[in-house]
Symmetry: C2
Subunit: 346 residues, 2 copies
DNA sequence: GGCTGTCTTGACAGCGCTGTCACAGGGTCG
DNA sequence: CGACCCTGTGACAGCGCTGTCAAGACAGCC
């Protein structure tokens, strides 16, 4: 259980501890030959740096925190994997921090989190990344962060971020439904705290307008990013005098709820009604029929953000980046049933 | 960003740093009055201990690691939440460690993980907790751990653990199906690496035998804990000359696959075929019809295990504990269709 | 030759905390 | 009344690493 320390390596290589430290941290001001000698000693002693000591001694702990507030397990896991991939690759530690983005004192909670472990910086995911006041305070505390935001690129953005253009993807999904011939398309909206749901709604409306369809209030239902709201919302839509022939759920879980509602109402998907989701979570593949959706690679997006953060911490300059989710067409969407053959509901 | 240290608190309270340390760590050999004074100073200075320093200085870092190897996002999140609840409550840090339980050098990887951050101990979840050789090595390295295992209580168990009696729960599910009148019951088995799947199979067979039904080889299909294997396995069962009237999937994801297979084959659940899962993940609630399953509270189980681990680290003696998942009946199971009225398939 | 600048290297002082040990003060016991 | 123990407290030495600064070696220059 005992393991070698810097000093052991130094003795073995016949150099000072500081020089070993330099080699370990990839500083360049070490002669090639010395470096080799040190590396050999490290190898022989099976040395691995003690992260606590490094963090205590240095200006920061070479560890970043991933902050999220999300009910979606798949999404969280994907984000964790992405952050882990970046950290493993760049030799940084990683801490996870679930939180309540609406709680008062969020910024202070995060500051404590950073301070206690001397974190080098934070990756802020939605919706925490959208709390402007919190961002300002974090910045004031001097905590480096990179945020992931749901928006198109904005040249005036004052904090570093990775953009995910939800509007664009929602537009693509809606356009797909319109292309199939749907006109009455229901929209099940997700959590108000998430700017993403506003963006997706915008994409939906923009597409309708561009195709000459006037968005109708009764077709847009409020709700949260959960199955039950998808279920209830869809039932409300089915109960309309003129129900929609297609439903666009703001994420896959909502769409899964809508799918269940359709099935429970004896409607066949996609023949009686088309259903589309958003996210491409396993949900969308594991339902029957599998869901048409927008693929949003949370793992890749978060990995990118984490790399950006670490680059910043290292003092490199980095540019903001953008991602566009892509349309994935599966079995849950099809052309509407011809009017004449439409079956009576209930 | 600067924060108070032990020394600051000590000065303010007019005591030595060591005494403050004692108060912070809840040692009892401090006079009540002194303790109050220190607590007041801590409050006034908004002091929070630096975890890195504590870890570096002390024998261990007051932080435990949660080790898992699981493809199931819900399950992982539940485990993380459970571990977090225990750690938050007991003032310990927590590190997550996804890994490959079949990889060679697993024990060494975990040792490195522990050493680098001076972790106090590990919570080992299935299937890592079932790798006997790995456990032996961890014990040899002197790393404290608590494992979660799928088995009934065993008085001869040599390592500390939390038991989850999968056999029992699988028995209950199978008995439920038998009670409904099913005789031909298919079983879709999950990953071979998991001892749990053997236990569940055992519960299935035991129940059949107790009800006078001979387990039939053709009704038991091998596979992994994934949707696709559930889908394929169910299709194989439907293709039998005499197909089952009920299917028991080894977990909810497999059952979801079976459900999709039934729907894609035009079979109505539960009228043409009953389907049951295991785990009570959101899957089982979010499918249509919702799945009959066994509720296994991974969060509570892992929380329990984490508390046990911390108690051990603190030198307290703790007993092993057991959990029994409970049957949850939902809409996916019903009595079989009377023979005469059975519909032709395909 | 002396001066400056660059490249490598090492000595040393912490980072903020805890483990160990020592010690003062007061009670108990034979 | 001395030996002994218990309680409460503090001094001090690290834990393993990095930041700072200084110094040696050597090259290039006037």
């Amino acid at each position: 259980m005992e393991s070698a320390t810097l000093a052991d390596v130094a003795t073995r290589a016949g150099v000072s501890a500081k020089t070993v430290s330099r080699v370990v941290n990839g500083e360049r001001s070490v002669r090639q030959e010395t470096r080799q000698r040190v590396l050999r000693a490290i190898e022989q002693l099976d040395y691995r740096p003690n992260l606590l000591a490094r963090g205590l001694s240095g200006a920061h702990a070479y560890t970043v925190g991933l902050v999220y507030d999300n009910p979606n397990a798949y999404y969280i896991i994907a984000m964790q994997q992405g952050a882990l991939a970046a950290c493993d690759d760049l030799n940084f530690g990683l801490q996870f921090r679930p939180c309540d983005s609406t709680a008062p004192g969020l910024a202070e909670g995060l500051r404590d989190f950073v301070q206690r472990s001397r974190l080098s910086g934070l990756v802020l995911t939605t919706p925490v990344s959208e709390r402007t006041a919190t961002l300002e305070r974090l910045a004031a505390y001097g905590i480096p962060f990179v945020r992931i935001v749901s928006a198109a690129r904005d040249p005036h953005e004052k904090f570093p971020c990775v953009y995910v253009d939800d509007r664009d993807a929602a537009y693509a999904i809606t356009a797909h439904l319109l292309h199939l011939g749907h006109v009455r398309i229901g929209f099940l909206r997700g959590g108000k705290h998430h700017h993403a749901s506003a963006e997706r709604l915008k994409g939906y409306k923009d597409a309708l307008r561009d195709y000459g369809v006037t968005p109708s209030r009764e077709l847009m239902v409020e709700g949260d990013y959960v199955f039950d709201d998808g279920f209830r919302g869809a039932r409300r839509l089915f109960d309309l005098a003129e129900p929609p022939t297609a439903i666009f759920g703001c994420n896959d879980e909502i769409a899964a709820g809508a799918l269940a509602a359709a099935q429970s109402a004896g409607l066949s998907v996609p023949y009686d009604v088309s259903i589309a989701g958003f996210e491409d979570s396993p949900f969308s593949r594991h339902s029957w029929p599998p869901l048409t959706t927008a693929r949003q690679r949370a793992d890749i997006i978060v990995e990118r953000a984490t790399r950006m953060l670490i680059a910043r911490i290292r003092g490199e300059t980095v540019d903001n980046e953008g991602f566009n989710p892509e349309l994935v067409v599966r079995g849950s969407t099809a052309p509407p049933r011809p009017k004449s053959r439409q079956r009576k509901r209930r």
